[in-house]
């Protein structure tokens, strides 16, 4: 549905988006991750046709955004970053306007409006003017606007920003449900959101795509991914590590924590980890040595760690090590 090829956007001398390509098909939810100013919003603005790209191509549902913007825009629902809406209109008036400009009329229009009012929990405020609403309601009003025409493509810039935890959950569930039939792009700073909602995630840093894959694939890039943690009681860390280091499957071990006779040792796999191989070996050793085991678990890897490693530029890292020294 969405096809982006070699998208470039420069503002003055600054390259905000640098050669970004991706496709999103129906049934996919693509999560955009990245630090502030990484080019997420700029990319989304080009996908939705708000700003023209310096170079590259965007097509939505087969319509080129430059050659046939109206055709492409018909298929898109868009929630901009600040969730803008007309402050002097009522919620109902605003949704009516959104529906009409999307070409809905008559019974179809009222049905569509009723549907989004229910989906976005706006029943209590429909006759209130937008500028009297709280931030969460304003956000949901703009969200409602973006789905009123049941678009095939949904682009959302930080859809859960400024919502309370319950609302966040509702919106996430809504996105996940809609993702079954639509092509969705959304950006976020919240990593668990990516894990909870996306079928695919892209990390963007300084205008470039630096990682692209399913949340599980991204997590596997974490240094910790595949490592086995072992917590035992009543024995020294050095003994445990000595035994584990001797195992064929293990490349190295580290001591994570050692307190009041309780040690936490982490064993890293050799080569690419196979399913359960290392944890099996660790568990076998523990049983043979009759250690008093508290816990054994395999790390899935953590997205925040991957994010941190990938998006921290070399200069930042050297800055950091300087500070440490």
């Amino acid at each position: 549905m969405i096809k982006v090829e070699n998208l470039v956007k420069t503002f003055g001398r600054k390259k905000a988006v640098d050669d970004v390509s991706f496709t999103v098909e129906r049934g996919e939810i693509l999560g955009f991750l990245g630090p502030n100013g990484a080019g997420k919003s700029t990319t989304m603005r080009m996908v939705t046709g708000f700003i023209p790209p310096t170079a590259g191509k965007v097509s939505v549902g087969g319509f080129d955004m430059l050659d046939n913007p109206v055709g492409a825009k018909k298929l898109i629902g868009y929630l901009p970053e600040s969730a803008p809406s007309y402050p002097d209109m009522t919620v109902l008036g605003f949704l009516k306007f959104a529906a009409e400009i999307r070409g809905l009329s008559g019974a179809e229009k009222s049905k569509a409006i009723d549907r989004v009012i229910e989906l976005c929990f706006l029943q209590n405020v429909i006759h209130q003017s937008v500028d009297t609403l709280s931030k969460g309601y304003k956000h949901r009003t703009c969200f409602a606007q973006s789905i009123v025409h049941d678009p095939d493509v949904l682009v959302m810039d930080e859809p859960t920003d400024g919502l309370d935890p319950n609302q966040k959950r509702e919106i996430r569930n809504l996105i996940r449900r809609m993702g079954e039939k639509k092509a969705i792009i959304f950006s976020t700073h919240i990593l668990e959101e990516v894990e909870a909602v996306c079928t695919r995630a892209m990390i963007i840093d300084r205008g470039k795509v630096v990682a692209n894959g399913t949340p599980a694939e991204l997590k596997a890039k974490s240094d910790l991914a595949g490592s086995v943690s072992l917590k035992v009681k009543g024995i020294g860390a050095s003994v445990v590590r000595g035994k584990l280091d001797a195992l064929n499957e293990v490349s190295k071990t580290t001591t994570v924590e050692e307190t009041d006779g309780k040690v936490w040792v982490r064993a890293f796999p050799k080569d690419a980890p196979k399913n359960g191989e290392v944890s099996e070996a660790v568990a076998r050793t523990a049983a043979a040595e009759k250690w008093d085991v508290v816990e054994v678990f395999t790390e899935q890897g953590r997205l925040d760690e991957v994010f941190w490693n990938i998006t921290l530029s070399d200069t930042d890292q050297s800055e950091l090590s300087k500070q440490k020294a």
Binding site: G71, K73, P80, P84
Partner: protein, 245 residues
């Protein structure tokens, strides 16, 4: 066409959703009344015409029209709704025309509400109503020209006050270029080149509004006002395009 209507409807309802519309209409009617009867000497003229009424329109519009139009695009930019509007399945031109038409219709409503003065003059005497219709048409066209200029200035800035001030200045220039004291002064300055004075004056709304007040609806004057509107709205499109890239 449907999109233009939808945009215009929203814009027009936005005027009436806030006190702006009512405040504007009341002030407009009060001022037209004041200028017609107190300053224009409606009764002292002792003639059945609306000369005293139309005479002040270029000056009244100088402040009132920019006040109506200053928020058209600047507010859209400030609120971020420009992003919403420009990602809707409409062309920028439809949005520009829709918003302009809404404000113009609003000014038209205010103008129509001055109808009691037409009734008054018809009650008191026997005026030439053709001349009055001409005056109204000219006044409406002039309001449209001012409004299109305000449209352009409000697209240039996010700040309504700046949009207002620039519009007033531009409109003032368009008035002064044909205002008798200025044209007389220019004739004294450049006595050898009357064509220059005529050229400058031809850019003035005063020159073009005059004939309307005499009941003459001349295509040249219509073309002048329409081309000011066309040029300003086209420039608005250019400005909007440039701020988006």
């Amino acid at each position: 066409m449907g999109n233009i209507t939808t945009i215009a409807k929203r814009e027009l309802s936005a005027y009436f959703a806030s006190p702006v519309a009512y405040v504007f209409i009341v002030i407009f009617l009060l001022l037209t009344g004041f200028f017609t009867f107190m300053v224009g000497g409606f009764f002292e003229r002792n003639e059945a015409s609306l000369t005293a009424f139309f005479l002040w329109h270029p000056w009244l519009y100088l402040f009132l029209v920019p006040a109506v139009g200053m928020r058209l695009w600047s507010e859209e930019r400030r609120q971020g709704t420009l992003e919403l509007l420009m990602t809707m399945p409409i062309t920028p031109w439809q949005a520009i025309v829709g918003k302009f038409v809404a404000s113009w219709v609003f000014l038209g409503i205010a103008l129509v509400l001055t109808f009691p003065i037409v009734m008054t003059v018809n009650y008191l005497g026997d005026p030439d109503n053709g001349i009055i219709v001409g005056g109204y048409v000219g006044s409406f066209m002039m309001a449209g020209a001012y409004l299109a200029i305000t449209c352009l200035t409000s697209a240039i800035t996010r700040n309504q006050v700046i949009a207002f001030i620039i519009s007033v200045v531009v409109c003032l220039v368009l008035i002064l270029a044909g205002w008798p004291p200025v044209t007389n002064f220019m004739t004294q300055m450049f006595p050898d080149t009357p064509s220059l004075v005529g050229f400058v004056a031809s850019f003035s709304v005063m020159t073009h509004f005059e004939d309307f007040q005499r009941g003459v609806i001349d295509s040249r004057h219509l073309i002048f006002f329409l081309s000011v509107m066309g040029f300003s709205l086209f420039s608005t499109a250019v400005v909007l395009k440039s701020i988006r890239s």
